[in-house]
Each structure stands twice: as structure tokens, then as C-alpha cells.
């Protein structure tokens, strides 16, 4: 590491056993670094990145945020879901909405777009890798594939005031 910055006259003395440990420790960290690189850049398990800046005061005046919910992009294959996090509920709190004709089937690629119109919230879909912050002024985005039919809760994972503990919703996935 930074020992290369050596400006001293004398060399750093390291016990031979500890020298071996230093090598082993670096190796372990390199193994982890390679593993996260494989997961991230080869298997597509990525964290959110910069998506879009928005104005939390006016965002609900225009599409798509004036009508949050499911959009069918490619039937049976690709869906977009827009969700607004508010103190202290998600709009909508059921995906797809009960009166909607759209169904999300198992195996479809579902992309979630979430933003907040007041304070910071969290968004985590249980049993999936979708887990991010919902920050006012920013849009968060991640995609997942639901492999089993059933209902999946999405919950608020960041403290957002008095009603935080009851802030959640459900995605329903059909066969």
C-alpha cells in the first residue's frame, strides 16, 4: 500500500509471519473485489445510478407521475412501475391496481421507478434485490424478475416520521 511513499532512511521491519498475513489479508480482499465485480458487471446485479432530477413540488402535475402505477411495455415480458412515496403511504399501494386490466406474470422484467414528494423514504421489495432510497428531487430505478407467483410486500425502510411503520404496499404476480 502506501509504504511506497517511504521517505525514511531505515526500512520498515516486518516479522516474517506477519508479512505472510499481510499477503493473505490482501488476497482475501481481492477475492471479494473480484466477486462483486462479477456480480455487478457480468451478472447484472447493479446498484442504482443517476437517473433523473425532478422537482418534488410539481412532479405530480405531469405524466408519468400524475398517474403512478403499472405500464405494460411488452405484454408478458416488460413492465414499468411508477411509485410515489409520501408521508406515510405509497401511491399506489397495490400493484397492479385492483381495478386494472394489466397483470404482471411470473418471469417478466419489471422496472420500478420511485420518487418522494416530501421527505426521504426507503423502498425494498421483500425477497428481491430491489432495495433503494427514495429521495425527493431524484428518481430511483431498479429492475427485477419475479420468479414465483404470489404477492410481494414493498416496505418503507427509512424513517420518515410518525406513520413510518405502517408504510407499505404489495405487488401481485400472476402465473
Amino acid at each position: 500500500m502506501s509504504t511506497s511513499e517511504s521517505a525514511g532512511k531505515t526500512k520498515l521491519h516486518i516479522d516474517p509471519t506477519e508479512r505472510s498475513w499481510i499477503r493473505a489479508a490482501i488476497l482475501v480482499l481481492v477475492v471479494f473485489a473480484i466477486s462483486i465485480t462479477i456480480a455487478g458487471f457480468m451478472l447484472g446485479i447493479q446498484v442504482p445510478t443517476e437517473e433523473q432530477r425532478v422537482d418534488p413540488r410539481t412532479i405530480q402535475e405531469e405524466l408519468p407521475w400524475s398517474q403512478p402505477g403499472v405500464r405494460e411495455i411488452v405484454p408478458g415480458e416488460k413492465y414499468d412501475v411508477y411509485l410515489i412515496a409520501k408521508m406515510w403511504f405509497f401511491d399506489p399501494n397495490t400493484v397492479p391496481a385492483p381495478d386494472s386490466t394489466v397483470e404482471i406474470p411470473t418471469g417478466a422484467e419489471v422496472t420500478f421507478y420511485v420518487t418522494s414528494v416530501d421527505v426521504q423514504h426507503g423502498f425494498k421489495i421483500q425477497g428481491t434485490n430491489v432495495n433503494f432510497m427514495a429521495v425527493p428531487g431524484e428518481v430511483s430505478k431498479l429492475t427485477t424478475v419475479f420468479e414465483e407467483p404470489g404477492s410481494y410486500d414493498y416496505i418503507c425502510t427509512e424513517y420518515c416520521g410518525t406513520g413510518h411503520a405502517s408504510m407499505y404496499g404489495t405487488v401481485n404476480i400472476t402465473e
Partner: protein
């Protein structure tokens, strides 16, 4: 209690127990880290 005979050096003291200890540590670290990593992989891609 300490034998302060001054000529004790690292060279004469071989930390065998320490090597065993850190080896066990690495085993536990790898086991726990990869168990979470496998959960991550099982939940699939996000892009």
C-alpha cells in the same frame, strides 16, 4: 509478572497461536461473506 529481560525479540517469539487464530478468522469471514453473496445471486439481476 512480565519478564523484562530486554533480549526478547520478535525473532525468538513465533506467534503460532496467532496464525491459527487468523486462519480461523479467514475461514469464518469467507463463509459468512459468501453466504450473503449467494443470497444476492439467488435474487437475480437488477438491470
Amino acid at each position: 509478572m512480565t519478564s523484562d529481560n530486554g533480549d526478547e525479540t520478535q525473532g525468538e517469539f513465533k506467534p503460532r497461536g496467532t496464525v491459527a487464530f487468523v486462519a480461523a478468522f479467514v475461514a469464518v469471514l469467507m463463509l459468512m461473506w459468501f453466504s450473503i453473496y449467494i443470497i444476492l445471486l439467488s435474487r437475480g439481476a437488477t438491470i
